[in-house]
Amino acid sequence: MVYLRLRFWQCLKNKVRFAASIASMSIVNNMKWLRRIFKRHQASIQKSSEMKISPQHAKNMLMMIANTREQELSCDEVHGLLDQYAEMALRGENPAEFLPLVHYHLDMCPDCREEYEALVRMLEGSNEFE
C-alpha cells in the first residue's frame, strides 16, 4: 500500500514536470488528468472554485484531519477535568500522560485551549494555587 502511494505521488510529480515543461496548453489537460485521479464528481468540479482555502488553512485542516481519533471527549467533559489538569501542570507533573484525552482535546479545540491557558494564568497570578 505504501509502495502504491509512493508510486502514485511519483507519477503525480512526473505529470507535474510534464505540465511545467509545456506550460500553457498542457496545464488544462493535466488538471483534468489530476481531477480524474481524485475521482471528482462533475457537479463538485463546478462548485469547487467557490471554495477557497489558503495554504495555511489547508495545513491546519490537514493537521486536524490527520490527528482525528475515533473517540474524543466533548468540550463539557474536558471542562469538567480542566481544574485537575491545570493543577497537575502547575505542580510540574505531566497531565498529558494521565489525562491524554484532555490533552488531545486541547490541541484540537481552540476554545477549550484558550480557557485552559486563561485558567493557568489566573491560578498563577492569583497565588491561590499552592
Partner: protein, 210 residues
C-alpha cells in the same frame, strides 16, 4: 481566610453570616484572578472591564451554588470555581467580539490571506506550487462532496475562518458540545475518504510542508 474543600462546601451550604463570608471570599478570589485570566483579551484600563468582572463574578457564584453537588474534589475548590469563571468570561467576550458579524456573511467573504495562488511557471518551485494548488483544490472538493452542508459550514467557520466554537454554535442554533461532535464527525469523514482513496492526511501534510 484559607479553607479546605470541605470547609468551602460546608460554609457555602450554611446560612447567615457564615455563608456571607464565604461568598465574599469567593467573590474576592474571582475578581482578583480575572485580570490575569483575561490579560490577553481585555485590559483593566478598558471601560468595560469592571462591569465585565462584576457580571462574571455574579454569574460564577450563581452557577457554583447551583452546581455544588457536582464538585468531585479532584482539585482545590477554588480552582474548580476559577475554571467556571474563566468559561463564563471568555464566552461573554467571544460573543461580544463577534456580535455584529453574521456567520453566512463571514463565510461568503473571500479569505485569500496568504493564498496567492501560484500558477505554474518556469520557476524551479513550479512542481511544489502546482502540487499545493492541487491539494488545495482536492481538499476543497472533498469537503464539497463528502460533508453535509452543516458540517461544511462548521468546518469552514472554525477551521478556516477561525471563529470560536461558542459563537458558531449559537449562530447555528446548537451548543458547543454538539458542534464539536459535528466537527469530529466531519473530520472522521474526511480522513476516511482520503484514506479510502489511498491518501494519508499525514503524507499530504508532509508533502505540503516540503
Amino acid at each position: 481566610m484559607r479553607r479546605t474543600n470541605d470547609e468551602w462546601l460546608v460554609d457555602l451550604q450554611a446560612s447567615g453570616r457564615r455563608k456571607e463570608f464565604a461568598l465574599e471570599d469567593l467573590r474576592r478570589i474571582i475578581t482578583h484572578g480575572l485580570p490575569y485570566a483575561l490579560s490577553k483579551w481585555i485590559l483593566p484600563s478598558d471601560p468595560r472591564f469592571s462591569s465585565l468582572v462584576e457580571e462574571v463574578s455574579q454569574e460564577t457564584i450563581l452557577r457554583v451554588l447551583s452546581k455544588l453537588d457536582t464538585f468531585e474534589g479532584r482539585s482545590q475548590f477554588t480552582t474548580w470555581v476559577q475554571a467556571i469563571a474563566v468559561r463564563i468570561a471568555l464566552t461573554e467576550l467571544r460573543l461580544a467580539r463577534w456580535r455584529e458579524i453574521s456567520l453566512d456573511e463571514h463565510l461568503e467573504k473571500d479569505d485569500l490571506d496568504g493564498m496567492d495562488r501560484e500558477l505554474p511557471s518556469s520557476d524551479p518551485g513550479v512542481e511544489k506550487s502546482f502540487e499545493k494548488n492541487e491539494i488545495l483544490n482536492m481538499l476543497g472538493q472533498t469537503m464539497e462532496s463528502v460533508l453535509t452542508e452543516k458540517q461544511r459550514k462548521a468546518m469552514l467557520a472554525v477551521a478556516v475562518k477561525g471563529m470560536p466554537l461558542e459563537v458558531v454554535a449559537r449562530r447555528m442554533g446548537t451548543n458547543r458540545n454538539a458542534l464539536y461532535k459535528l466537527l469530529h464527525d466531519a473530520r472522521l469523514k474526511l480522513k476516511g475518504h482520503l484514506e479510502k482513496n489511498g491518501l494519508s492526511p499525514s503524507e499530504i501534510l508532509a508533502m505540503f510542508e516540503e
